[in-house]
């Protein structure tokens, strides 16, 4: 028996070894292409997958962020029962591309979820994200009931000192924040930090206790996303965050990637400002987060690469 087990293990080990060789070669080639470490990459003018591929390569490839065997969460915005063309949710093609890339980088599993606003099954289905993520090999997690959330402390928070955060984020090794860029009636804009509202259970508390401060407070959660990937392929410039018709949507074809959540949101906001005026001071959670020193709003102080396709 023991001998058989040993042989089995040896066989499996050698297969694993052989498999391992290949992606590592690929990675080596990719990193040759990438011109050093960028802090922020902005991409423009392509389809979601194409922009993502170029962008992540410029960030040093997914392997720089996701290690072999890690449990990964990809957290898009799936808040609304709307089809992709309404741009109320993150682009499903982008989500699928990220999921595939995480798996290719050796992730043990990739989980996708959001705490939706509209009825969750309709959101998961009609956003196209459930199907796209599953096809790409991700696991869809449930997030519609309080039982899927666990309380964590936010010692740095001014108004939000505790929050119930989704268990998959707590259990994951790394997570990737994938918001969609939208105008927002309450928070003015919704980007990376606002996307945290989908990892917590009690959003009502935020609205009732200085929304802008709570958004910044939650961004101090110690387990930060390794990447913030802001989807600006289609952007909702008015009537956000839910939108009425596709008249609210502009095909902007852009993507912003950064590990610095404040920088990612600053860049996305400045891009958005070209379509519709939006002042930094009005989106005050960005400034409030910068005060916590969790990132910078000064894009000149970091290494930015701009890619036009």
């Amino acid at each position: 028996m023991e001998r058989r087990n040993f042989l089995k293990a040896a066989l499996l080990g050698s297969i694993a070894g052989a498999v391992q060789l290949k992606p590592e070669n690929v990675f080596a080639r990719e990193s040759k292409e990438a011109p050093g470490q960028n802090d922020l990459v902005a991409v423009m003018g392509g389809e979601p997958e194409v922009m993502y591929k170029r962008g992540i390569a410029a960030m040093g490839g997914m392997k720089a962020f996701v290690k072999k065997g890690q449990k990964v969460v990809v957290k898009p915005n799936i808040g609304w029962d709307k089809k992709p063309e309404f741009a109320a949710n993150t682009n499903p093609q982008l989500v699928a591309a990220i999921v595939k890339d995480c798996l290719a980088a050796g992730a043990a599993e990739v989980v996708v979820f959001d705490h939706t606003c509209d009825e969750w099954q309709a959101c998961y289905k009609n956003s196209g994200i459930e199907a796209a993520a599953k096809a790409a090999g991700a696991k869809i997690a449930f997030a519609h009931d309080e039982k899927y959330y666990k309380e964590v402390d936010l010692p740095m928070g001014l108004r939000l000192k505790k929050a119930k955060i989704h268990e998959s984020i707590i259990e994951a090794d790394v997570w990737i924040n994938v918001p969609v860029l939208k105008n927002h009636g309450g928070a003015k804009m919704t980007m990376s930090m606002k996307n945290y509202m989908g990892i917590v259970w009690d959003r009502g508390y935020w609205h009732a206790n200085d929304l802008q401060q709570c958004i910044a407070d939650c961004a101090t959660y110690t387990k930060k996303p390794v990447l913030n990937i802001v989807d600006a392929y289609r952007i909702m410039t008015q009537n956000g965050p839910k939108g009425k018709t596709t008249n609210d949507v502009v095909l902007a074809k852009a993507l912003f990637i950064s590990s610095d959540i404040v920088a990612a949101d600053t860049a996305a906001l400045k891009f958005f400002n070209q379509f519709r005026e939006m002042k930094m001071e009005d989106v005050s959670h960005i400034g409030k987060a910068a005060k916590f020193n969790i990132g910078t709003t000064d894009l000149d102080s970091i290494k930015v690469e701009r890619i036009k396709i």
Binding site: D81, C117, E119, F142, G186, Y205, L211
Partner: protein, 515 residues
Amino acid sequence: MYKFLKRGRVAVSILITVAVTLAFLFFSNRETDLFNGFLKIQFVPALLGVFTGSAIILVLLTLLTLLFGRVYCSTICPLGTLQDATSRTASLFKSKKSRRFKYSSPKNLMRYLILGAAGIPLIFGSSAVISFLDPYSNYGKISSEITGRLEQYVHNLLSTVFPDTIFFRSYSVFIAGSFIFALAFLILVLAMSALRGRLYCNTICPVGTLLGFISRFSAFKPEINRESCNKCTLCVTNCKAECIDLKNSTIDESRCVGCLNCMTVCKKGAVTYKYSWKKREEQNEVPANAASDPVPASSGRRDALITLGLVGTFLAVKAVGKVAPLAAKPKKDGIAPPGAVSIDNLKSNCTACQACVTACPNGIIKPATGEYGTDGLLMPVLSFDKHFCGYDCNVCTQVCPNGALIPLEIEEKRLTQIGKVRFNLKKCIVFTDKTDCGACDEHCPTKAITMIPWGEEGLFIPKVNRNICIGCGGCEYVCPAKEKAMIVEPNEVHAIAQKPKEEKQEKVKVDEFGF
């Protein structure tokens, strides 16, 4: 032949009962609306829905009864099947002697009084009484409150065993009154059927009484052939309707549910269906026959005619659409689901079967306690405590078998104004705390709520346009203020909201990143 027929009857009755039950259960009614068709073939839904597409079904059910008597009760009615199953199960635990049924005389006064109590309010435009007596609707309540809850517990148990594949079903609003009624009714029916077979159907059920009247005129009636019958009482002891009077060799067709038991057990073949229309004429010609009948046929026929007259009046009143108001000014604090047209329409047509309650994906439809007043108890009312009405959802309007909720296309539903929001500035977070909120605006699907600049600190406050509000309750549900600043006020009569304006944007050409 009767054995074959009986097997068919049992198979059909089980099929229909299973399908009706599945229409109320989460795991089946989310995936398909196939089972809802089985709700529409029930008698009271067909009667109430006669002008909303169920006329053919009502005609077919009446024809069926005119041909074969109350076979509806033993094949189509799910409550009937439940009672047969109970009766059969109970007999396994009974002694041989107590297992036997006996003939019992009809409790006609009680039957007519209950039928009158349930039927007459219908003429005056209130389905309040029938909603507590209709066998289908009460079966619905049982399916929703008891079977459905059990299913939910099983589902949630499974969700702990398979957390990745089976999701936890959040518990929705629990209305104790509705649950207790369903449970009490279930216990009553189970007890009655365990002890006395179809006693409920033949003393209380108004549908049974009504179909019993029609059965007096039916073409085929069960009859005992006096010559071949040896009075072995096998038929009597197997008759769960307790309607075979062997002393006079008669079968009370108004109580016979056409279960075919007597015909299958009779060793002499003495109990059979006989064509009776031709015979009746003969009977009229020979008065000697009528005299030997212990119950004067004319009195039964008179009752039947009165009842059918009432049904006729009901249909006529319904067709004209004029309804005599029962109470002076009934209470109307509840928001009726989309498709209800008006609270009055709901109260005239709903029998509180809870098909809409169980079908609502957002779990916001609950049985009313006092929102519509006493004549609207347990009828569906919206509650925005745990969720709100989905903009792109019309499920409740599709499942109602009665026409109490008329089917709405998605496009119509999006403009159906079931209520209008009222904004109370003094309770709004932006006003009280001077901080951003906008949760209401976020959820508003028509942008009846927009955020406008307010004060000097760059704050935005909600502004409401009630003309385009459809009363979905998104804002009320999500408002984080301790006392809600957004409250939807019901529309007694549902209206058509104004279409939200299309806001075209100027095209801006952007080639740069902006930083």
